[in-house]
Symmetry: C2
């Protein structure tokens, strides 16, 4: 056993000696190179920003986006990402530089004042590294198709790495620029470039790189835009931002779809929605409330439409005489949100729809032209189109029928957004106000908002009268347990008539862009089999 | 055993006969009264709004608030609450009517055109009922101290109950108008009116009535105002609204203070903060992110400062050269929020401070005048004031020292808001950037924001370099388990230098108003012993 060890050790000595020799030769070469390097001090790895050795550049900074508008031949300092780098020869390299939705082609050409060493450094900078570059923006004659800024190039004179990426990436950001593979078609589909399409699960596992794609930057600009337009519209209409608790002592809304939390040795549950709390706030005279926050559903469904955690845009408000006062306000709200998306976020919308080959969204200019149909009228449309559905006051329409109805309405009224109201009472939650206030009513004061035939908001007038609520709960056989008692009690002390609704923010994004999977509209989606990253 | 039953039954027959007689007499009296009632059809209980029988009033509606500004002798229709009702005689009653922060005195006086029956109905309407009233607004000579509108009265001609309260309330809203009892002084303290003060726990148990007080309406106007100013300031500075997951596969930030969730038979945990996710988004090139949402802390502390669920106002952003770029932006943000509270919400602020006998909040006009001290300078101030605290790079200051330092700074700089920066590295989380980037640094690139000597925001530059982060984790002996792996990995692929922070919204409200307990700044507070309502 001893002999091989000695041999191996003596081998190691020989190898070490050789390496030392090699290193010496390389150092000598480098010293010579350095001496010949006219670009010394014009490139390299900067010390970590925040460390003692880091020194700011004195120049004015530009954004990559601004280079599309500045005069020809302007010298700029820009911080951006290396999307990719390729060397054409020892004297010429091209980089694709990226910042948000924008990209520009950069040229590094060796010359009397720019060394081959700089060209080499630039062309070997790993993609996804963050850099500071100094260069001159020049107009080009040819159209540069590989960048979003197609009539300019950046001629680099200095390149400094701020934060370097490792060379091997688990997924390529370029691959994340392509629409996800079609479900069921297997994972060996190829994109236009001929490279295999990266499956959704792989993208989500590497979400931090996936999100860098302009496709995802656009989706989450829009996500943020929905949130912001929701908020701004309601704020201007005196809605108050509220925060309702997510940890509840007991489940409140019935069903088994809640998550259990261990709460100091006891059991608590996660809120499935702010529903009962926002109503309690109306009873507390909060008049108009809004909340954008997480809701939790323990549904064991692995479909393209379900998440176990998502963002609910909730609102609830008093009305004076008729619940449609609220329905109209929500109609104007969604119309406002979508108008914002089609104007302020047109570039982002275009980027995603192009990738997903999505049709434009038909939206009437005036919110008063949004079609409003009763549930019965919807059924009649479906029946006329040959789809047999009963209007028996017992059953809701299913998602296939909903989709079909969406198509029929879009065709008839030229709108991908419509409202279906007066759902069967039996198809709605216990707190829904029966049509005309009659306990045995067939229909209810309720409404769903549809985009491309999918529900994006569900809402209704709520029962504000204690005796009526009690009678409904009795009729449905719902016991007033610990989770409902405070809620039911609060209607004893006088409560304004009120109505409201809740949007799924992801549903709006999904249907606006016609994405294929709700996970694509969620930063870090949660489903029964995914709780990371 | 039989005999008493027969007797009792025959008694019942006798009683029933008597009752029938009584009822007949009352009906006759009522018929006579009705015939004599000149106000018939001018008062009563309206059918439930939304029911078939409900009919809207044709008149224009006014808000109670608007009555303070309209011409003398205007007839108005108003929806509001009955705060209280008292009859002076069979011919004269007074109501106190309330809507939001406003109240007005109403007079109902019998006359040739207004019956005693109407007076009786008005004076017996249970407090907290919601009503529609028609009346004439008249200027008064005396100051009406019991209402916020002190120079007008409403002379009622019609009164209709929209939603009636039961006569017995678990707590009186009037009692909720008074500051909570001082801790430790027992529950038998008396308010100015001589009535016992209602304890905090009783108020929270009956939060839906408690929240109707103008005191709470004001607090939650301010709560909403903090949220809204946070959002608007950052939105105008290109921050993106994001939603990070609240259900995590494994705890990420260390410590044992997380809640466990049963997730489809497996264990998951609730997020203690969006910290790691907002950093991952920065690594994903989101540039500037903000999130207002719930965070969960399983701390078994029943103090006046701790909640197990609260609202965190989080932000994180790239910077170019120095982390103080971010610190200054956050300084301007908090200055903006507080300026908003002192202007737009001055009435609400006044209402609460008066109840809690709170001193005004000293706020420099210009955010550049907000004092910024290093931790060391803070310690020096404390030492000079005779409080012995070590600046040994090991220990943080405790809350007593913080409070004292707040007083010293307020005195020296005339500001109740100041920033303490460069905390000892050992007193901060593992991801905090060491001063000058040196792993063994005594201090760090960190900051806390203080209001009245209490921390309302904690923040720092975060380590954006993978090797530095790895070295810090190794030095601290923190294993890179499942909860940290994705986070640590994301710094391999290039990451912009960044910093951020998180406000507790309740802390801002608490210290702005100098409330005594963080629960008062939370709609439905959660602590180890409270998960309801």
């Amino acid at each position: 056993m001893k002999a091989p060890i000695f041999i191996s050790q003596s081998n190691a000595f020989v190898q070490a000696a050789r390496k030392a020799e090699q290193a010496k030769a390389e150092a000598a070469k480098k010293a010579e190179d350095d001496a010949n390097d006219v670009s010394k001090g014009q490139y390299g790895d900067l010390p970590i920003v925040g460390s003692k050795d880091y020194k700011p550049f004195p120049q004015k900074r530009y954004t990559l986006h601004s280079t599309s508008k500045i005069p020809d031949n302007t010298e700029v300092l820009i911080r951006c990402d290396v999307a990719n780098a390729r060397s054409q020869s020892a004297k010429l390299a091209f980089l694709n530089l990226r910042d948000g939705l924008d990209s520009i082609q950069a040229v590094i050409a060796a010359s009397e004042t720019l060394s081959r060493q700089l060209v080499k450094f630039a062309s070997t900078t790993p993609p996804e590294s963050l850099i500071d570059v100094i260069g001159v923006v020049k107009e080009t004659k040819e159209v540069i198709k590989s960048a979003t800024i197609q009539d300019r190039e950046l001629h680099i004179s200095q390149i400094w790495v701020i934060s370097k990426s490792v060379p091997q990436l688990p997924i390529q950001v370029e691959d994340a620029e392509i629409a996800i593979p079609i479900e069921g078609a297997g994972e060996d589909q190829k994109g236009e470039s001929g490279r295999p399409l990266v499956a959704l699960s792989t993208r989500l596992d590497n979400r931090m790189l996936d999100l860098r794609s302009t496709l995802n930057q656009a989706i989450f600009d829009i996500h943020s835009g929905v949130n912001d337009s929701f908020y701004e519209f309601l704020k201007a209409r005196q809605f108050r931002s509220v925060r309702t608790p997510k940890i509840l002592g007991s489940p409140s809304e019935g069903g088994a779809e809640f998550f259990e939390v261990t709460y100091f040795g006891k059991k608590a549950v996660l809120a499935q929605s702010p529903q009962l709390y926002k109503q309690m706030l109306i009873a507390s005279r909060f008049k108009r409330v809004m909340e954008a926050g997480p809701v939790f559903r323990a549904e064991n469904s692995n479909t393209s439409r379900h998440l176990t955690e998502y963002t609910s845009l909730d609102l609830e408000m008093e009305f004076v005489d008729h619940y449609e006062e609220v329905m109209f306000l929500i109609r104007d709200l969604l119309h406002h949100i979508l108008t914002e998306l089609s104007t302020t976020y047109s570039r982002q919308t275009e980027r995603v729809r192009q990738a997903y080959n999505a049709a434009p969204f038909k939206l009437p200019k005036d919110s008063k032209d949004i079609p409003i149909l009763t549930f019965s009228e919807g059924i009649t449309l479906l029946n006329k189109a040959g789809m047999e559905v009963a209007d028996d006051g017992e059953s809701d329409i299913n998602s296939t029928q909903e989709k079909k109805l969406g198509d029929l309405v879009a065709e008839k009224y030229n709108s991908d957004f419509y409202i279906l109201k007066e759902y069967p009472l039996k198809a709605r939650a216990f707190y829904t106000f029966p049509k005309g206030g009659e306990l045995d009513a067939k229909y209810s004061h309720s409404y769903d908002f549809m985009m491309r035939g999918q529900e994006v908001l569900s809402g209704a007038q709520r029962i504000h009268n204690h005796d009526m609520l009690k009678a409904r709960l009795d009729a449905l056989g719902v016991p007033i347990g610990a989770g409902l008692k405070d809620y039911v009690d609060c209607f004893r002390y006088g409560c304004p008539p009120h109505a409201g609704g809740a949007f799924g923010i992801e549903r709006i994004v999904l249907n606006w862009l016609d994405l294929k999977n709700v996970r694509l509209a969620t930063l870090f989606p949660r489903d029964p089999s995914r709780v990371t990253p």
